[in-house]
Amino acid sequence: MENNRILDIENLVVRFETDDGIVRAVNGLSLQLEKGHSIGLVGETGAGKTTTALSILRLVPDPPGVVECEKLSLDGRDIISMPIKELEQIRGKDVSMIFQDPMTALNPVFTVGEQIAESIFLHEDVSRAEATRRAIDMLELVGIPGERANEYPHQFSGGMKQRVVIAIALACHPKLLIADEPTTALDVTIQAQMLDLIRSLREKYSTSLIMITHDLGIVAEICDEVAVMYAGSIIEKGTLEDVFNRTKHPYTEGLFNSIPNLNDRKAMLTPIQGFTPDPTDLPSGCAFWPRCPYACEVCKKEQKDIRISDTHYVRCSRYEEKDFRINRKEIS
């Protein structure tokens, strides 16, 4: 079982020690991912999704970032204590990342070909010419004519840039791909193309995937599992079925309620009340209680992980009460 895990995070804590106080970005997050599986990391802006992803590559800026955890292993190798040289070999080779904003993710002063080839040249024992040739292949694979390899990022549109970013990420066929809101900055029509592209490439190279997004639709489209994050920890995790159909956490419920329902356009949108909490000053107990319609005194003091099934767990103390149910109906 262990060996089958591509990623195993145990109790990850990330905080940023700034002049204005300690920002607690990730608080005791644990996450496991099987090889070849894909998981969606869902949450509002500022929930700590990106920070979690960066922690996996140990790219959290330090200072001011401080990363602590009991376990962080990638394909069975410990990341936390790994020397930087080895880490550099893993980055881009075993695990790579697609960043949110394609407009800024590419270096403006190098051609896209060079940027893709660099990754190949670094990780595989090939000549520069060979790396360049493979970069062109990679470009074509993501649907860009190979002759555009000599062009610079500013000559590409946003969608094309994202294709380039994907090409960079997949150039060395990584075992794990982290896609950090890969479509947020793009037009809706392009979004679908991107998702298709990621899905097809993933299938082709049987890459594991962490899809970071705040769009539940994308998760449904592409992921096997879902983890919902709030204020730096996972508050509900399960298979797509578990989370979508048998929603347990009030916050997850809130997320679903915020999505306009195409089938019932007359239905009222019910957004979650209030704002995400100040990460320098998190509420005690369950971080969600100030906004939670089901909150009771217990929630202000503690939070508990409740296992619903083998695949599904939720972090909400109220499930200690046997007959606690949220309003959202289970869909079976």
């Binding site: 204005d20 500022g46 990106t50 960066l54 800026p61 704002f275 320098t280």
Partner: protein, 299 residues
């Protein structure tokens, strides 16, 4: 990235109190220790510049020579020693603050008035006038400031007024450009259009609406400008084109002391230090102001 977003939210959420811009700037400024030290120094320098003339008598302490007491090393009696005429160097350095500082301030005022006006006009009207003004600036910036200063000083003769004017003119194009650059983005804002619709005249719009919104880069430039004007003045004085003798301008003192440098190094050290500390203070203050005025740039 994540961190920045959070901070933005934080300030959006709870720190939204109405505060005057000055108070906000001051709050930011106070956080910068080197800028605070600089501010204190600037205050002291300004104080010395204003009040030195009340402590010392120009005729008795500056003009009068005591040849018999020349070249005395720094001591309790003469803190910075005496020069080749037996004059007390400390007195001269202190008294000289007035000249260096007034040259710096007035020169900057001149460049400011000329440059900001031209820059406003260029930025506000655009088109042919803008082109003309920018070309004109190019002519002046194409000549190194010190050579231009030498030419101006030679043409109009040596006096403290000409020195101020020369330096002022030399640096004016810089202010013109800064102002124009600051005005450009403001020019097309809706509130300018609104003011125009409301019947405010061009001049009114320029000075009441455009200028205040373009002010912060100008303020920074002014502070730093005093520093560079003082440096430029000392350079010109060093070349023998500064204030008339026996005014104890620091650059002139440096150039006088240079002849005796080998045996009496202190004659060059102290005026040089005075220049450096003054310029450094203004530069640090300008740096601090820049950070305080534009927190986005704060590093």
């Amino acid at each position: 990235m994540a961190r920045k977003k959070k901070k933005a939210e934080v300030s959006g959420q709870k720190q939204y109190k109405k505060r005057s811009i000055a108070a906000e700037v001051w709050r930011n400024y106070k956080k910068n220790p080197s800028a605070m030290i600089a501010l204190v120094l600037v205050v002291i320098i300004v104080f010395v510049a204003i009040f030195a003339q009340f402590f010392y008598d120009f005729k008795k302490d500056i003009v009068k020579q005591h040849i018999k007491e020349k070249f005395q090393k720094p001591s309790a009696e003469h803190w910075f020693g005496t020069d080749n005429y037996g004059r007390d160097v400390f007195t001269r350095v202190i008294y000289g603050t007035k000249y260096s500082l007034s040259v710096g301030v007035v020169a900057v005022a001149i460049s400011c008035i000329v440059g900001v006006t031209l820059g406003l006009i260029a930025g506000y009207y655009g088109g042919f006038i803008e082109d003309l003004i920018l070309r004109f600036c190019e002519v002046f910036t194409g000549i190194p400031s010190i050579l231009m200063g030498v030419a101006l000083m030679t043409a109009f003769g040596q006096s403290i007024g000409v020195l101020m004017l020369a330096i002022g003119l030399v640096y004016a194009p810089m202010y013109c450009r800064t102002t124009r650059a600051a005005v450009l983005p403001v020019r097309d804002q809706e509130y300018i259009e609104a003011a125009r619709v409301a019947g405010v005249g061009d001049l009114g719009i320029m000075f009441n609406h455009v200028l205040p919104n373009a002010l912060s880069p100008i303020i920074v430039q002014v502070t730093m400008g005093v520093a560079s004007a003082i440096l430029c003045a000392s350079g010109l004085s060093f070349l023998g084109l500064g204030v008339p003798i026996p005014m104890p301008e620091w650059g002139a003192m440096l150039s006088e002391g240079r002849e005796f440098m080998r045996d009496y190094m202190y004659l060059t050290i102290f005026p040089g230090l005075a220049i450096m500390i003054t310029v450094l203070s203004f530069n640090l203050m300008g740096d601090g102001l820049r950070d305080a005025l534009d927190p986005k740039l704060k590093q």
